[in-house]
């Protein structure tokens, strides 16, 4: 920390809307002086306390543990109380647009209706399921390794940043989304929980569950706590196979197709992978397949090259496989 506190001026364009009185949202401009030790929540407070007390937002703990104050700054998800203003200036310059996590869910200014978020949280049985000894004289034993295997999923504060940043949620309202799936991981990888299979059956339907993640990593970027939801979703993919709960559908066959192809050639056979995943549906891809074939991107099955280390690769697959298909 420098000996004197440095200040800068920022120019804000702030989303405003009150669903009771406004037909359309609008933006209001504010000029705010900020200092190096301030976070974005201080900026929200300044707008309310110095300029316009009708400005509304959720906030409580002011240090990144209650998850109330998720907003978007220049369309980037952030937890306002954990984001240094000077870091934002470094990233975006001194002009910033402040918006709620989701504009279509707005109630008032930064306050959004989180009903769908909480409904999906509730859908995955977000609690440990086990018979509770109400007066125990010992604890469950849990190794440090098993504790670490929760992989920080237990620090999710349900701020919703990942959920509202997820493009799959945006286009598919049935998709459970990264937060509730990270919560699923939290309990499904806890050695003390007894409802793993039940939860897997909830989260592995096509259209709403883990297979609808498009692996874009937006959730990992948006998370202020380092939970990394996509990593957790990937572990759930594996767990559905390990536990024999994977249903045969285009997504699971796609996953199995990868392994089959590598096991057969040591290389990925992209043509067969599509056929494997989609079955008869592969026919609709024939025009692309033809173009790809002409560019040498795919080979006919009988022309598919084989890796010269295929035996080694097969051994590797065998020793590293944790699931039966």
């Amino acid at each position: 920390m420098a000996d004197a506190i440095e200040t800068k001026k920022i120019y804000l364009k702030v989303f405003r809307f009150n669903h009771e009185t406004d037909y359309l949202p609008y933006y209001k401009n504010y000029e705010v002086v900020v200092s190096q030790d301030e976070v974005m929540l201080d900026v929200l407070n300044k707008i309310k306390w110095e300029f316009d007390s009708t400005f509304s937002y959720r906030r409580s703990c002011r240090h990144g543990i209650c998850g109330s104050c998720g907003i978007k700054v220049n369309n980037r998800a952030t937890l306002a109380c954990k984001e240094r203003v000077f870091d934002m200036i470094e990233l975006f310059g001194n002009e910033m647009t402040i918006e709620p996590q989701s504009r279509k869910r707005v109630i008032k200014d930064m306050v959004i209706d989180k009903k769908d978020f909480w409904d999906k949280y509730n859908a995955v049985k977000p609690y440990m399921i086990t018979a509770v000894d109400e007066h125990p004289d010992s604890e469950n034993y849990m190794s440090p390794h098993d504790y670490e295997n929760l992989k920080e999923a237990d620090i999710c504060v349900q701020c919703g940043n990942c959920y509202y940043a997820c493009p799959s949620v945006e286009v598919n309202e049935d998709y459970l989304g990264p937060a509730s799936l990270a919560k699923t991981y939290r309990f499904n990888f806890d050695t003390r929980d007894e409802a793993k299979i039940d939860r897997l059956d909830t989260v592995n339907d096509l259209g709403s569950g883990i297979w609808d993640c498009v692996k874009c990593y937006e959730c990992a970027e948006a998370c202020p706590k380092g939970v990394n939801p996509i990593e957790k979703i990937t572990y759930l993919h594996t767990q559905t196979f390990q536990e024999g709960r994977a249903k045969s559908n285009v997504a699971t066959r796609h996953a199995v197709g990868f392994k089959t192809s590598i096991n057969m050639h040591g290389f990925l056979d992209e043509g067969m992978l599509v056929a494997y995943s989609e079955g008869i549906g592969v026919l609709k891809h024939l025009p692309e397949a033809f173009k790809m074939f002409r560019k040498g991107k795919i080979a006919m099955p009988w022309n598919m090259p084989k890796s010269k280390n295929l035996d080694e690769i097969k051994k590797l697959i065998k020793s590293s496989s944790s699931a039966k298909f």
């Binding site: 409580s60 703990c61 002011r62 509770v132 504790y147």
Partner: protein
């Protein structure tokens, strides 16, 4: 405003959804009672989740319940009630194991048992922890299990009054923050678990929500508050913001240095050093600063050095703390010392309750159907100074215990049926209406800022008769100005302008109690330090203050005996 207010009926209404509220709710719901929990946030946003360092229990073979009791009593500067302390410490191991069985993610020893770390004022490593986010895992767990069992939660509802008639509480009046629609919650039993009152101070570690609403709601009905002068200043708040750096930082080996590079705790607590209790360390830091040995841009902080722990230990045991110092100071504790100063942290005082959570009407009598637990209550297990990692224990244990006590009273038919009419909501409706119509000239934010600044300066770590009288005058001035506030937001939707005004009204009212208690208590004990009375005076003040406010805002004080026991008061040195 709508006069046809809906009336919801429950066996029990619990206000506040932190650890204490959720544990009581779960207990009652499991035993067939119809329970509603009302919170102005979402339950998972409750401030219990911000607790970092740990929760105490004499779990290990080389620890003893009696030692935990003794440490707590000595830590309380002998003002803690020994019957309540004995109950809590005895039940601590079971309580920790119970929350573990429900899923709490504690850090583990190699043998799979729950890990424990040293904390200030404790004679053994006794704080069970989950890295440096113990409160979060406990809050999540108890909420999750209450939710699993089917407890009804009212999120983002603001409770603005109790219905108190003929010596009994008949429920509460609340409004939905989303649309300002009021409802009456009628109940056989009502429990407050609303948290602390640290927001009255400028430098504090508390959430925006910790405005002590319940205390003023209770006090405005002429019911007493206990030991309000005891506010804990935590020694290690981040300089400037006051955001907490957990005692785990000292527990894991953090060292304090002044501007001259001296490890100054040698002067104040030569045996315990940095691991002396919080009141002792806070005063030592403040003294260094006042004598000109502070560091930082305003020379109002000292250094805590953790660099010798190394990256591995810091990342494994204190990752959140490192993150906080990076966010709020731009300093990396792995590489450099960070700047800290005392911050208002915990409220030892509160709504007086007996060992079963029943709210007192006077020194000898109780209110029917009214209970409280957790930080908003004063039971009192912390006396004049709380030991680190005892607050989560208090919330979890006394939350559950109070739930059991309500259950017993319901089953024994000790609680008469509540009797509620629409007029009972009048006070609450009028308050909101009056504030919404305010078109004066005073800004809420300005009055609040002056309140917080003056409380920190004149009723903070060091107090004198002079400073307290000055603060009393200031409070009178602010209270008068509060009558002339201006509210710009007249909308019914998520009106936080209105809410901040109601909350400020509460902060002003309970601040009078803090100052009055501090004035009357002409001694220094635990967190309450009078420069003009630097010694503890057991003859006069080994007593709780029980204070009442009349309709004109005048406060009168009575004294209640401390429940003593096997540990006789002794001089308190560390």
């Amino acid at each position: 405003m709508n006069e046809n207010i809906p009336i919801h009926e429950y066996d029990v209404v619990i206000v506040g959804s932190g650890i204490a509220g959720c544990s009581a709710a779960r207990e009652l719901h499991r035993n067939g009672k119809k329970v509603a929990v009302i919170t102005k946030l979402h339950p998972l946003r409750s401030h219990s989740g911000a607790a970092q360092g740990g929760i105490n229990a004499a779990l290990s073979k080389d620890d003893e319940i009696d030692l935990h009791m003794f440490d707590t009593i000595k830590g309380s500067d002998y003002l803690g009630d020994q019957d309540a302390i004995e109950l809590m410490c005895t039940k601590a191991p079971e309580t920790i194991r119970w929350i573990e069985r429900m899923g709490a993610a504690f850090t583990r020893n190699n043998d799979g048992t729950i890990a424990q770390r040293p904390f200030g004022g404790q004679s053994k490593p006794r704080a069970c922890y989950a890295k440096d986010r113990t409160g979060l895992t406990l809050l999540q767990t108890i909420f999750e299990q209450a939710h699993r069992d089917g407890v009804t939660f009212f999120d983002e509802w603001y409770v603005s009054d109790i219905i108190y008639k003929e010596g009994k509480v008949h429920g509460v009046v609340a409004y939905n923050i989303r649309d300002l629609e009021f409802a009456i919650f009628k109940s056989k039993a009502t429990m407050f678990a609303t948290g602390g009152y640290g927001r009255a101070f400028k430098v504090n570690s508390n959430a925006h929500a910790n405005t002590g609403d319940a205390l003023s709601i209770v006090a405005r009905h002429g019911l007493p508050l206990e030991d309000m002068e005891f506010v804990q200043f935590h020694p290690t708040g981040l300089a400037g913001s006051g955001i907490l750096i957990s005692e785990a930082a000292r527990g894991e080996g953090g060292k304090l240095f002044n501007s001259e590079g001296e490890r100054f705790m040698e002067r104040y607590a030569p045996n315990k050093m940095e691991l002396a209790p919080r009141d002792v360390v806070s005063r030592s830091i403040q003294k260094e600063v006042l004598e000109g040995r502070g560091v930082g841009p305003n020379k109002d902080a000292v250094f805590i050095d953790l660099t010798h722990l190394g990256e591995k230990v810091i990342m494994e045991k204190l990752p959140e703390l490192r993150d906080l110092a990076l966010t709020f100071l731009g300093l990396d504790m792995i590489k450099e010392p960070i700047l800290i100063s005392p911050t208002a942290h915990y409220s030892m005082g509160g709504i007086p309750v007996n060992i079963d959570g029943k709210v007192r009407k006077s020194c000898s009598d109780f209110v029917e159907g009214f209970y409280a637990a957790g930080e908003c209550s004063c039971v009192s297990v912390h006396g004049a100074n709380r030991l680190g990692a005892n607050s989560l224990l208090e919330a979890l244990f006394f939350g559950r215990h109070t739930g059991e006590s309500i259950l017993r009273d319901l089953n024994d038919k000790k609680l008469s049926n509540p009797n509620v009419v629409f007029e009972d909501a009048k006070r609450a409706l009028e308050e909101v209406e009056k504030i919404l119509k305010s078109n004066g000239s005073e800004k809420i934010a300005k009055i609040r800022e002056e309140l917080q600044e003056s409380m920190t300066n004149d009723a903070g770590v060091f107090r004198t008769k002079e400073s307290l009288l000055r603060q009393q005058e200031k409070l009178n001035e602010l209270k008068a100005r509060f009558e002339n506030i201006r509210i710009d937001d007249k909308s019914k939707v998520f009106n936080t302008d209105l809410q901040e005004a109601i909350e400020l009204g509460h902060m002003l009212d309970y601040s009078f109690f803090i100052v009055e208690g501090a004035l009357i208590r002409e001694e220094s004990r635990g967190a309450h330090y009078r420069e003009d009375f630097p010694n503890r005076d057991d003859d006069k003040f080994l007593k709780h203050t029980i204070a009442f406010m009349d309709e004109n805002g005048k406060i009168s004080t009575q004294f209640l005996d401390v429940a003593l026991g096997k540990f006789e008061p002794q001089p308190r040195t560390y």
